[in-house]
C-alpha cells in the first residue's frame, strides 16, 4: 500500500520533470548514472585539492584557506565542486534508494543490486565525514569530537580516541596523515562497492545523458562561483564549537548523535543496516521460474543474450551435437522472468506448426503457447468496429487486468510476430502496446527493444506486411491510467474509420489452438 503510494507519487513528480527536462533527460530516471558522474567529479577535484593540502594541526586549515581565498579561481572552485557534488551525490543516492524501493526493484532475483548498495550508502557517508575533518575548522572540530565520542562507545579502544581532541596539546599532526589516508582509502572502497553494485545488470548506465551531465556540471560551476564553499574559522581545542553550520546532507545525523545515547545510535545503525539488507525478503517475492532453453529450437543466434537486461543469459559451446557452434544457457539466479528473451527469439512465433508450440527460450510459467491462448481469449471480448487488443506492461498505466487486455511482465516479451498474428488472424483491428513510462523501463530495455523491433531496426523485426498504423505504442507511467484509456479509445476510433484489413485469415475452429498448444495454421 505504502509502496504503491510512493510509486504513484514518484510517477507524478517525474511527469512534472518530464515537462522541464524531457523524458530523455529526466534526472529521476538517471539517478544511478548521475551518482557515478558526481562520484567522478568528487574524486577528480579531490585529487586536485590534494596537491595543495598540507597535513598538520595548523597547516591543514591554512592550506585550505590559501586554496579557497588566494587561489579561489581554480582550487577554490575545485573545493566547491568537491563539496557540492558530494552533497548532490548523497541526495541522488537517497532518492535512488527510495525510488527503487517504491518501484519494487529490490525483491526476488534483483536482490543483489539492492544488498550491495547498502555498504555504498555507508561508504558515502564515511567518505564525506572524513573529508569534513580534514579542513580543521570549527565544523571539523565539532565533527571530530562528536565522531570520536560515538566511536568511544564501542569497547574496542584501549584509550578514548576523543582524548586526542581535549586540548591543543593533545592533538598530533600525524592524526591528519591518518585522516588523509582514510579519506582516500574509503572512497576507493566505495568505488569497489559501486562496481560490484552494477555487476548483475547488462550495460549498466554509468554515464548520464550528455545534456543532463553538462547541465549538472554547469550548475555546479555557477554555484561554485556565486556561493563558494568556505571554512568556518580555525579549530581551537581550548574552546568548544557552540554554533556550527552543519552540512545537512552528510552530517545530518550529528545533531541526533549529540542528543541520543551512543548505544541507541549504534543499535539504530545496525538495525537499519540489517533491515535494509533484509528488505528484498520482507516479504520474499514469489518469482516465476527462470526462462528455459529448448535446444531443439535454439540455433545459438545470441539475440536473447544481447537483449537480456540482467546478464542472465550466456553463450556457450554447443553441447548437443547439432550443427551450430553455440547454444545459450540461462543463469537462474539472475533471471527475473521478464520474458524479454522470449520476445527476442526468432523461433517465438505463434504461427508455428508443430505438435506443441515450443520456442527456443521460453518462460515455463507462461510459455508462448499460453500467451497465444490468452491473446485469443482476450480478443473474444472485443466487439464492434475499431477493436483494440492491448498488450500491457504490468508496471505501467495499463497494468491492471481488463477486457481486451493481456498483461505481461514486460511488453518486450511479446514477439513482433504476435502482433502480426493478432492482426492477420483478425483477432483485433489494431494492437496497443501499453508499456511503462517513457522515461524509464521497469526492465531497463523493454521499451527500447520493443520500439526498435517494431521500427524494423532490431531482430526480430516486425514484418513489412503488418500495417504500422494498426499498432499503437504508449509509454505511460502508473498514474496515467485514464490518459492511456483515452488514447486507446481514440486509436479505436481511428481504426474504425479505416477500411477493414483485407488480408485477414481467421482461425478456423478446427485449427484453433487448444490448451495443449495444438497446431496452428501456417503463414
Amino acid at each position: 500500500m505504502l509502496r504503491r503510494l510512493f510509486n504513484r507519487g514518484f510517477d507524478r513528480v517525474e511527469r512534472l520533470l518530464d515537462g522541464a527536462f524531457g523524458p530523455a533527460w529526466n534526472p529521476l530516471a538517471h539517478l544511478g548514472s548521475l551518482g557515478w558522474l558526481l562520484f567522478w567529479v568528487v574524486a577528480g577535484t579531490g585529487l586536485y585539492l590534494f596537491i595543495f593540502f598540507d597535513t598538520g594541526v595548523h597547516a591543514a586549515y591554512e592550506s585550505v584557506q590559501w586554496l579557497s581565498e588566494d587561489h579561489w579561481y581554480h582550487a577554490g572552485v575545485a573545493r566547491s565542486f568537491h563539496r557540492y557534488a558530494s552533497d548532490l551525490m548523497v541526495l541522488v543516492m537517497l532518492i535512488h534508494i527510495l525510488r527503487e524501493w517504491a518501484m519494487d526493484r529490490l525483491r526476488g532475483r534483483r536482490w543483489f543490486s539492492w544488498v550491495t548498495g547498502v555498504p555504498v550508502l555507508w561508504f558515502v557517508y564515511i567518505s564525506g565525514i572524513t573529508g569534513y575533518w580534514l579542513v580543521w575548522d570549527t565544523l571539523a572540530q565539532y565533527v571530530a569530537t562528536v565522531s570520536t565520542e560515538l566511536l568511544d562507545a564501542l569497547p574496542f579502544f584501549s584509550e578514548p580516541i576523543a582524548r586526542n581532541f581535549l586540548s591543543p596539546e593533545t592533538l598530533n599532526s600525524r592524526f591528519f596523515t591518518l585522516m588523509v589516508f582514510l579519506h582516500i582509502a574509503i572512497p576507493l572502497m566505495l568505488l569497489l562497492m559501486m562496481w560490484i553494485h552494477i555487476q548483475r545488470i547488462t550495460d549498466a548506465r554509468t554515464n548520464p545523458p550528455r545534456g543532463l551531465g553538462i547541465m549538472t556540471l554547469l550548475a555546479l560551476l555557477a554555484v561554485a562561483l556565486v556561493m563558494p564553499a568556505v571554512s568556518q574559522g580555525p579549530a581551537d581545542l581550548a574552546t568548544v564549537p557552540q554554533r556550527v553550520g552543519v552540512d545537512w546532507f552528510i552530517l545530518s545525523l550529528y545533531p541526533v548523535i549529540e542528543s541520543v545515547p551512543p548505544g541507541v545510535i549504534w543499535t539504530g545503525a545496525l538495525v537499519i543496516t540489517f533491515l535494509m539488507i533484509g528488505l528484498p525478503w520482507l516479504p520474499p517475492r514469489r518469482e516465476a521460474p527462470a526462462a528455459v532453453v529448448t535446444l531443439d529450437h535454439c540455433n545459438g543466434c545470441a539475440r536473447c543474450v544481447a537483449d537480456c537486461p540482467y546478464a542472465a543469459i550466456t553463450l556457450v559451446a554447443r553441447s548437443d551435437g547439432a550443427p551450430f557452434t553455440h547454444e545459450v544457457v540461462v543463469n537462474e539466479d539472475r533471471c527475473v522472468s521478464c520474458g524479454i528473451c522470449m520476445g527476442s527469439c526468432p523461433s517465438s512465433t505463434p504461427f508455428r506448426r508443430s505438435e506443441e508450440l515450443t520456442t527456443g527460450i521460453d518462460l515455463p510459467s507462461r510459455p508462448l503457447s499460453q500467451l497465444r491462448l490468452e491473446v485469443i481469449e482476450a480478443a473474444r471480448s472485443l466487439t464492434g468496429e475499431g477493436r483494440v487488443l492491448t498488450l500491457a506492461c504490468q508496471h505501467g498505466s495499463a497494468g491492471a487486468e481488463g477486457p481486451g487486455r493481456v498483461v505481461l511482465p514486460c511488453v518486450a516479451m511479446a514477439p513482433p510476430s504476435l502482433i502480426d498474428y493478432i492482426i492477420s488472424r483478425g483477432l483485433a483491428d489494431g494492437v496497443a502496446i501499453a508499456g511503462c513510462s517513457e522515461r524509464e523501463c521497469f526492465n531497463r530495455y523493454g521499451q527500447e527493444w520493443t520500439e526498435q523491433r517494431f521500427a524494423r531496426q532490431r531482430d526480430p523485426y516486425l514484418r513489412e506486411r503488418v500495417p504500422r498504423e494498426r499498432l499503437l505504442l504508449l509509454w505511460h507511467g502508473t498514474s496515467e491510467a485514464r490518459r492511456t484509456l483515452r488514447e486507446i479509445a481514440s486509436f479505436g476510433a481511428r481504426l474504425a474509420a479505416m477500411p477493414a484489413y483485407g488480408k485477414v485469415r481467421p482461425i478456423t475452429e478446427t485449427r484453433a489452438p487448444d490448451r495443449a498448444g495444438a497446431p496452428e495454421a501456417g503463414t
Binding site: 520533470l17 515537462g19 522541464a20 527536462f21 524531457g22 523524458p23 530523455a24 533527460w25 534526472p27 566547491s80 563539496r83 557540492y84 552533497d87 548532490l88 541526495l91 565539532y142 565520542e149 568511544d152 569497547p155 584501549s158 584509550e159 578514548p160 576523543a162 582524548r163 581535549l166 586540548s167 545534456g211 543532463l212 547541465m215 549538472t216 554547469l218 550548475a219 555546479l220 555557477a222 554555484v223 556565486v226 556561493m227 564553499a229 568556505v230 581545542l237 581550548a238 574552546t239 568548544v240 564549537p241 557552540q242 554554533r243 556550527v244 553550520g245 552543519v246 552540512d247 545537512w248 546532507f249 550529528y254 545533531p255 549529540e258 517513457e438 521499451q447 520500439e451 521500427a455 509509454w475
Partner: protein, 170 residues
C-alpha cells in the same frame, strides 16, 4: 521512441538543476546547529589509568622458580587483571560524577578509561576530583581541588596524571 531533448528542455531543465544545486549548496552550511547552549561551557574529565595490582602480587615459590628459565625468573607474580578504579567529581559541592570504572578489554587486562562531558553555566566553579585505584584503600588515593572562571564556550579539561600528583585542571 523517447523523444529527443529540445532547446526548451535545456533551459527549463537547466533552471531546475541550478535551483537544486543552489539548494544543496545552501543546505551544506545552513541552518546552523546550536551544539552548546549560549552561556554554557564544557567540562571534560578524561583519563586512562590502570588500578593498582600490587595487592594481588605474591612471591614465587622455589618450585615455581625452578620451572622457569633463568631469564624469566622474577621475585613475584601478579594478577594480569586490573582492579576497578573509582572516581568522583564534585562541582560547587555537588557530586556530578561517581563511577566505578571496570578495566577495559574483553579479559579485563586493560586499564580503566573515562571520558565524560559535563556542561556547566559560565562563571566561577569549584572542582574536587577524587580517585581510588587501590581496592585496599578505604577512602580515596587521590583528591585534588581547583577553582576556575569559565567563559561561554570554554573547554575545561580535567585529567588524571599520577606522575603530577593526581588530577590536573586546565
Amino acid at each position: 521512441m523517447t523523444r529527443p531533448a529540445r532547446y526548451r528542455d535545456m533551459v527549463a531543465g537547466g533552471i531546475v538543476t541550478l535551483a537544486v544545486t543552489a539548494g544543496a549548496a545552501w543546505l551544506s552550511a545552513k541552518p546552523e546547529w546550536q551544539s552548546l547552549e549560549p552561556g554554557m561551557a564544557l567540562v571534560r574529565i578524561s583519563f586512562t589509568h590502570g588500578g593498582d595490582r600490587s595487592g594481588s602480587c605474591r612471591p614465587l615459590t622455589a618450585e615455581e622458580l625452578a620451572t622457569l628459565p633463568r631469564n624469566m625468573q622474577r621475585k613475584e607474580i601478579c594478577d594480569t587483571h586490573y582492579p576497578p578504579v573509582t572516581v568522583e567529581l564534585d562541582v560547587d559541592g555537588q557530586t556530578v560524577l561517581a563511577r566505578e570504572l571496570p578495566p577495559s578489554g574483553f579479559n579485563g587486562t586493560g586499564p580503566s578509561r573515562l571520558y565524560q562531558r559535563i556542561e556547566l553555566p559560565a562563571g566561577s566553579h569549584d572542582f574536587v576530583a577524587r580517585l581510588r585505584d587501590n581496592p585496599q584503600t578505604a577512602g580515596f588515593d587521590y583528591e585534588n581541588r581547583a577553582q576556575a572562571d569559565l567563559v561561554p564556550g570554554q573547554s575545561y579539561v580535567i585529567e588524571f596524571k599520577p606522575a603530577q600528583g593526581g588530577f590536573t585542571f586546565r
